[in-house]
């Protein structure tokens, strides 16, 4: 299966592990990731204002590229996925926004591309059962807490990935890899995001709520899909390690490098 891949800026720098193990796992699962040529930063956050045009053009360009190749546009960073998916939705549903965006781009684009997070690709295109078949080193006995944060699931009317209040997609992946998912209440609450820049105390309070709750629920490790979530949880002193879900995936598939 060939898909278009939008890695995003952080995956080229601070979150290289997220990128690297996405690629390695994809290889094992017969997914060819074709990196979008000359992609540009998604901007990190989706500006909800309908009259914000320029900030969404980089996403539209990537979407348009994928649509031209008739490929699914896959990203693995929660933030990139959120921005791209919401932009695509705005192109489909907001005529005025669509019209104005199309004034800036060469070829007309109307939201034709299919956008998927790498997790959805594994669930809906590959199938978690097929992923399970490729597991070489089961995560048996490992208690893993999925941390969704806000961007993967919300707004659910647009993201349509999973139940926004009681999601199962990462838990199901953990189970497929042989691990034991740990459910805890703050897995879909915000880590503090970029408030870390201005008000680290606020980010600390929120992150601690998440990591304490996960640890109290018996988790040994937290997985996430977002570099900023990982930063906040780790920076604020999580008792248990925080890794990208792709690292666990690669480990189970037997393609993780030893540190």
């Amino acid at each position: 299966m060939k898909v278009s891949y939008f890695p995003g800026c952080t995956l080229k720098t601070k979150a290289k592990q997220l990128d690297k193990y996405t690629r390695k796992s994809a290889e094992v699962l017969d997914i060819t990731l074709e990196e979008i040529e000359n992609w540009q930063c998604c901007g990190g956050v989706f500006t909800t204002a309908r009259d914000e045009i320029a900030t969404k053009l980089s996403s539209v360009r990537a979407l348009s590229e994928a649509a031209k190749k008739d490929q699914i546009l896959v990203s693995v960073c929660s933030a990139c996925h959120n921005v791209i998916k919401q932009t695509n939705n705005a192109m489909q549903t907001d005529d005025e926004f669509n019209f104005r965006v199309n004034q800036y781009i060469d070829e007309e684009y109307n939201g034709e591309a299919k956008v998927m997070h790498f997790l959805e690709l594994l669930r809906d295109e590959v199938g978690f059962d097929k992923v399970a078949e490729k597991v070489k080193k089961s995560l048996e006995g490992k208690k893993v807490a999925a941390y969704y944060g806000c961007l993967l699931l919300r707004p659910s009317s647009v993201m349509q990935m999973d139940d926004p209040e009681n999601p199962t997609i990462i838990e199901d992946l953990i189970s497929a890899l042989g691990g034991e998912p740990v459910i805890y209440p703050y897995r879909n609450e915000c880590c503090g995001g970029y408030i870390a820049l201005e008000n680290p105390e606020s980010a600390k309070a929120r992150s601690n709520k998440v990591t304490d709750s996960a640890a109290k629920s018996g988790a040994e490790i937290i997985v996430t899909a977002c570099p900023l979530c990982k930063y906040n949880l780790e920076k604020n002193g999580s008792e248990i390690p925080v890794v990208y879900f792709t690292e666990l995936l690669a480990e189970a598939l037997g393609v993780k490098e030893e540190n």
């Binding site: 009317s157 139940d163 209040e165 009681n166 459910i183 209440p185 703050y186 609450e189 709750s213 109290k216």
Partner: protein, 664 residues
């Protein structure tokens, strides 16, 4: 040539305010066939009707046009007036110059012009009208009540009391419905079972009432006064006539792990069961999904212990066919699923429950024998948070909640809060509300007592998230009046789930050709003036299948529906609507198009002998309309490719004449 009279009504200033009524009656005076034209302040009044009667006699009128309000309002009135003066009532036409003219136009010239045009169209039609005589059909003096909750029970009892036989069809093994699951009832706090079960016994003992429990309506045919209904009596694998309800089988059955639906799955029952002690009929039912004998052929314990010999593993579903004069829908409600509201963690913690589950938890016959304990660990909860409007008044997303107010939650939550404080004064009780809605006799007083005498903390605001942490539930909520976000450590959270019509209502509505609203509540014939009748003749509505209601309101409406049924069954014959379809057999080519589109099954095909011009005879297949079944919808007249099918009183040539008059 007809001799037509025109009567223009002012309707006070309703019409005369925007329509020059004198100009209208003057203009119509010159229409073909019109021999008399006048106007009057209130044509529907006695004096107005006398004007019509006198004119019919004096001018030997053969048809009349009344320019007034909608025919829905007064067509029947003026038809009666005409009949009293010896004119065939179907020679009356109404031109609607109020709802469709004076009320929608603002200036007099436009209103007047349109009124004249509408009047001309009516005159053109009357010119082609012919006297019609309605047929009559007999009335089967038996009623069917679908649903055996408090609504169905009350309706059936009232009809039976008037001397008519009634059948109740209930899909569960017992009648009683939701009310049987309730503990106490607001605002008087009498025990639900104490007031319901005597009524259930009355039903069982009433000679005029038959109960088909564990049964469903399979098919409905016929029409008002003459419904043909097929009822599927599901196999319960117990002979109802023999079973004494002793309950030995339900104690000995080795299959103990069946979720008990009566207690909302909070405990288990056996595969053979009697839903609750006061069930009516008090007979056992085998749950085929769990019975080892039925699934594997090995067991048979219930049969061995049954001294009456009532167990019958070979029992099959039975189809009962019966005729009814009237049908009452009383299919009731259910709380909506909490799956889409997991910010309240219903699926993540056993200690987040719905209000109906709370009823069972506090009921002496419930899973905890009436002791208020946490489902997770059986401990007494010290802090309880009630959340109102979960899924009610929710317009964000149709698949999530309901846009309407569920109406009963404010009162039952006040009841739960008050009873908890009364019985367990060591418990802190919080109620989060958006608005407290307590219209009703002694309702607001009841709610205020919960606050003022029982010390329930009512907080204006909503809960945003419930987080199960250890054995506590962290409740994050807003207190809008204090402008604070609250964090409450609770032991139990109770969700006032919105209510929705039972899922069986939608297919039933299709069978009954009764209409429903977008929420699957049955639609009433008129929201104010005909609240217990469905628009389909002979079908009546009782209880929450029509809209959210509490018990007092349900019982009132159930009795009202019964009164309507009694009124119908008291008649020996029903006068039909003569405006039905009829086929011109000479033009009919036997194609079956009309038969296929008829929603009432009123058209059949017959082979008929026709004399040909050369004096031979030929048998041709032609359409035949059952006038008693036809509702006059006209679908067949447009489907007929050869123009053979026409609607009496609304013939194609009459409609064309109206259109011509408008376009002239």
């Amino acid at each position: 040539m007809q001799r037509i009279g025109v009567f223009v009504c002012w309707c006070g200033s309703n019409i005369a305010g925007t329509v020059d009524v004198q100009a209208v009656s003057d203009a119509l005076q010159n229409e073909p066939g019109v021999v008399f034209s006048t106007n009057y302040q209130y044509m529907c009044s006695q004096a107005g009707q006398d004007i019509i009667k006198n004119a019919i006699a004096e001018h030997k009128l053969t048809g009349i046009v009344v320019c007034s309000c909608s025919p829905r309002m007064h067509e029947a009135t003026f038809r009666k007036t005409a009949a009293a003066a010896g004119l065939n009532p179907y020679m009356v036409e109404i031109a609607n110059i109020r709802e469709q003219c004076s009320w929608v136009h603002k200036d007099m010239p436009t209103g007047t012009e349109k009124a004249i045009i509408l009047g001309k169209a009516a005159v053109a039609k009357v010119n082609l009208n012919a006297p019609l005589k309605p047929g009559e059909s007999p009335v089967t003096k038996r009623a069917l009540v679908i649903g055996g909750g408090i609504a169905g029970i009350q309706t059936a009892l009232d009809i039976a009391e008037a001397g008519f036989p009634v059948d109740i069809v209930e899909k569960k093994p017992t009648i009683g419905g939701k009310m049987a699951q309730l503990d106490k009832t607001f605002p008087t706090l009498d025990c639900a079972a104490c007031i319901l079960t005597p009524k259930m016994v009355d039903v069982a003992q009433n000679e005029n009432i038959r109960i088909f429990s564990y049964s469903e309506v399979e098919e409905v045919g016929g029409f008002v006064g003459n419904f043909d209904v097929k009822i599927r009596k599901k196999a319960r694998f117990v002979n109802e006539d023999i079973c004494t309800g002793c309950g030995i089988c339900t104690e000995k059955c080795p299959q103990k792990k069946v979720p008990n639906e009566f207690n909302l799955g909070m405990d288990n029952r056996r595969a053979i069961y009697i839903p609750f002690a006061q069930a009516v009929p008090k007979v056992a039912t085998i749950d085929a999904d769990y019975c080892t004998m039925l699934k594997t052929g090995k067991c048979g314990v219930c049969s061995k212990v049954c001294t009456a010999g009532a167990i019958d593993y070979t029992q099959k579903d039975e189809i009962i066919e019966e005729k009814y004069g009237a049908i009452v829908a009383a299919t009731g409600f259910n709380p909506i699923s909490m799956d889409k509201f997991d910010e309240y963690a219903y699926n993540q913690s056993k200690d987040v429950i719905t209000s109906l589950e709370f009823e069972r938890l506090t009921n002496a016959a419930g899973p905890s024998a009436g002791k208020l304990v946490r489902p997770s660990d059986g401990k007494h909860p010290h802090t309880i948070v009630f959340v109102q409007c979960v899924g009610s008044r929710c317009a964000a997303c149709a698949e999530k909640g309901k846009e309407y107010c569920s109406k009963i939650c404010c009162m039952y939550t006040a009841k739960h809060a008050m009873l908890t404080r009364d019985k367990y004064p060591d418990t802190d009780v919080y109620v989060f509300y958006i608005d407290v809605r307590t219209p009703g006799k002694a309702f607001d007083e009841f709610y205020r007592r919960a606050v003022e005498e029982y010390g329930v903390h009512y907080i204006k605001g909503m809960v945003g998230k419930v987080s199960p942490e250890g054995d506590k539930l962290m409740v994050q909520a807003s207190d809008l009046l204090a402008n604070k976000q609250l964090h409450i450590e609770a032991d139990l959270v109770v969700l006032a789930a919105a209510i929705e019509p039972d899922k069986s209502a939608r297919p039933l509505a299709t069978q009954l050709t009764a209409s429903m609203d977008t929420n699957d509540f049955f639609t009433e014939a008129h929201p104010k003036l005909r609240p217990v009748e469905s628009p389909t003749a002979g079908v009546f509505l009782s209880g929450t299948c029509q809209g959210p209601k509490d018990i007092p309101e349900t019982v009132s409406q159930a009795s009202a529906a019964a009164a309507k049924v009694i009124g119908l069954l008291a008649k020996d014959k029903l006068t039909g609507n003569p405006c039905v379809a009829g086929s011109d057999e000479l033009m009919c080519n036997g194609c079956s198009s009309c038969e296929r589109v008829c929603p009432y099954g009123a058209i059949t095909y017959v082979d008929k002998e026709f004399r040909m011009p050369d004096r031979t005879t030929r048998v041709r297949r032609v359409a035949s309309v059952n006038e008693a079944v036809c509702q006059g919808c006209g679908a067949c007249t447009v489907a007929c490719p050869s123009g053979a099918m026409d609607l009496k009183g609304f013939a194609t040539k009459q409609i064309i004449a109206e259109v011509d008059a408008i376009c002239r």
